[in-house]
Amino acid sequence: MSTTPSTASPASPAIRNRSAVAMAGRIRDLALLPALIVLIVVGALVSPAFLTQANITTILTSCAALAMVVLAESLIIITGKFDLSLESTAGFAPAIGALIVLPVASNGFGLELPTIVGLLVVLAIGAIIGFINGFLIVRLQLNAFIVTLAMLIILRGMLVGATKGRTLFDLPDAFYALMIVTFLGIPLAVWLAALAFLIAGIVLKYHRLGRALYAIGGNPEAARAAGIRVERVIWGVYILGGVLAAVGGLFITGYVGAISANQGNGMIFTVFAAAVIGGISLDGGKGTMFGALTGVLLLGVVQNLLTLAQVPSFWIQAIYGTIILGALMVARLTSGAPQT
């Protein structure tokens, strides 16, 4: 060959400023920040309590369980799939863990296994649910939406059946520990959620497994052709998602101080809302943990703010929805890109 191939010559009009490129990638993740900042400013004006350390802890604590489930859902969505059953995992897994630990008098199964076994079972149940979902979706190639919707209904039903609808009180303290034990004044659950997001963020960005999730979500065929074991990874992500949701369920238990037979019910809407306004694309392959986290925080801040502002209770929901829509529009305006 006589001449060198035309490398990116600086004169080419197709060349852009490198940092501009990097920016463009970031914008999707940062899109929510302006809305979040506006809300924080409004919050500070509306209530002097808003920016106190105590209230910030309150917001973080109230978000911790949501954060775990959003993390799980985000990983699954990035892989191009769906999991509606995470909300029921968050109820079912801790309940089973509790039932095998509690005496019959406290509505348990009466097995009275050691607490640590109960806690391990919570995680195991999460993993098993994820495993079954993965099996049905990856192996039997059933539709992920319906599989996990059916799983949601089944688990909800089994929870009611197993508890006979009764709320489980008087759990061993360990079931509450993640919310009760604090470090620097902040519950362990919050630290754990933060750590989980940090690890997930790093793995997604810097580890081949994380990159594989994006590749699978973006184009599973191409991922397979590049040697990624697509089915195995998807399956693994479902299992991980189940475990994370189970941990999220333990957070709820610690937060609420009991396990009711509808723990987690209705949560999945909020989970999707947080993930998607945080820039996780339902098409798969797009979005970051940082974005998802801003989504969680946005929802947490709005809820907190509406309570502090003592908005009339009849209108609180309508205002909540309006703020979400507003945030979405601000994100659209600041990022300049259509949303997927």
């Binding site: 309590a49 937060y255 209705g266 609180i316």
Partner: protein
């Protein structure tokens, strides 16, 4: 020959309702009533109607049902009438007949009782309601009863509210947590349903280091509602101060009793009953046996007659 009886449950996931469900089954056996499998309408009126339709298809001649809303009972009653089945309403009164009788307690009075108790113990400062779902009549009645009573009788109290969707305990915890930041000197709380709000409320106070037993400085006066055993325990420990015992047992007992009688062709009339209550004609054609819903405090918490002490 009496015929089968169908029972509608508003929900199966509140301790109050699961207790009620248990009592219904016991009472049916005790009173010799053949019960169909109770159905769970999950706070959804349309599900309730489908459930009743299905029960009628199975040959039910009597129905005990608990409308989520007074106004939403009409079609159930019409369908039952068409099928020649008798109906007894429990917990919520339908707006109009035909209904053999209503068994319930006055939910506005629940809110008023809580208000009086708090008003008598707190002179001034902030009081908080943790509200039931405002789309349910029980949630609204309790809220209005409390709110109007405070406004009228205790103008020195500053009223705060935490709303919840579908009686959600998580909403309760997050809301209370936030309110405690803006009103750290909160004096009292009224929870609309101890069954679902007790644990989250105590847990939140515990987390914030504000759970002081009665008598200790900084104790927040708490009045609950429902009368489940866990509330009684909390009263004994001094964690909360009172609760309204909503008579799940009597709801079941008299619900079954009246239905059995109605199916035998008996009709009812206003006047006192043999169990310390009055039958009142609340609207033309609608009779209501207004059972007592006593306030439980440290003084009477060990009274064996409360259903919460019998489980």
């Amino acid at each position: 020959e009496s015929g089968k009886v169908a029972v509608d449950l508003t929900t199966l996931t509140s301790p109050f309702w699961t207790s009620y469900n248990k009592y219904i089954i016991e009472e049916a056996k005790a009173q010799g009533v053949e019960l169909l499998e109770p159905f769970n309408s999950e706070f959804d009126t349309a599900k309730q109607i489908t459930g009743v339709q299905n029960a009628l298809a199975l040959g039910a001649k009597g129905i005990i049902f608990s409308p989520f809303e007074s106004a939403a009972a009409g079609n159930v009653l019409k369908a039952a009438e068409k099928a020649g089945a008798k109906v007894v309403a429990v917990d919520v009164a339908p707006d109009n007949g035909p209904v053999a009788i209503v068994v319930r307690a006055n939910n506005v009075a629940y809110g008023e009782k809580a208000c009086k108790f708090i008003g008598d113990n707190v002179k001034e400062g902030a009081v908080l309601q943790i509200m039931g779902d405002q789309a349910s009549i029980n949630g609204r009645d309790r809220g209005n009863g409390f709110r109007d009573c405070v406004t009228k009788n205790y103008p020195n109290l500053k009223q705060l509210e935490v709303p919840t969707k579908a009686w959600s305990g998580e909403d309760a915890a997050a809301g209370l947590d936030a309110i405690l930041n803006s009103n750290p000197d909160l004096k009292a709380i009224y929870m609309h349903a101890g069954g679902v709000f007790l644990a989250p409320t105590l847990q939140t106070l515990k987390r914030k280091g504000l759970l002081k037993p009665a008598g200790e400085a900084g104790h927040i006066i708490i009045v609950s509602n429902d009368g489940i055993p866990q509330e009684f325990d909390a009263i004994r420990k001094g964690e909360i101060d009172a609760t309204v015992s909503q008579p799940a047992d009597l709801y079941a007992k008299y619900g079954i009793m009246y239905l059995k009688q109605a199916m035998e062709g008996k009709t009812f009339a206003p006047g006192p009953t043999d169990h310390d209550s009055n039958i009142v004609e609340v609207r033309p054609g609608v009779l209501e046996d207004q059972l007592a819903a006593p306030l439980v405090t440290k003084e009477n918490v060990d009274d064996k007659s409360f259903w919460g002490n019998q489980l």
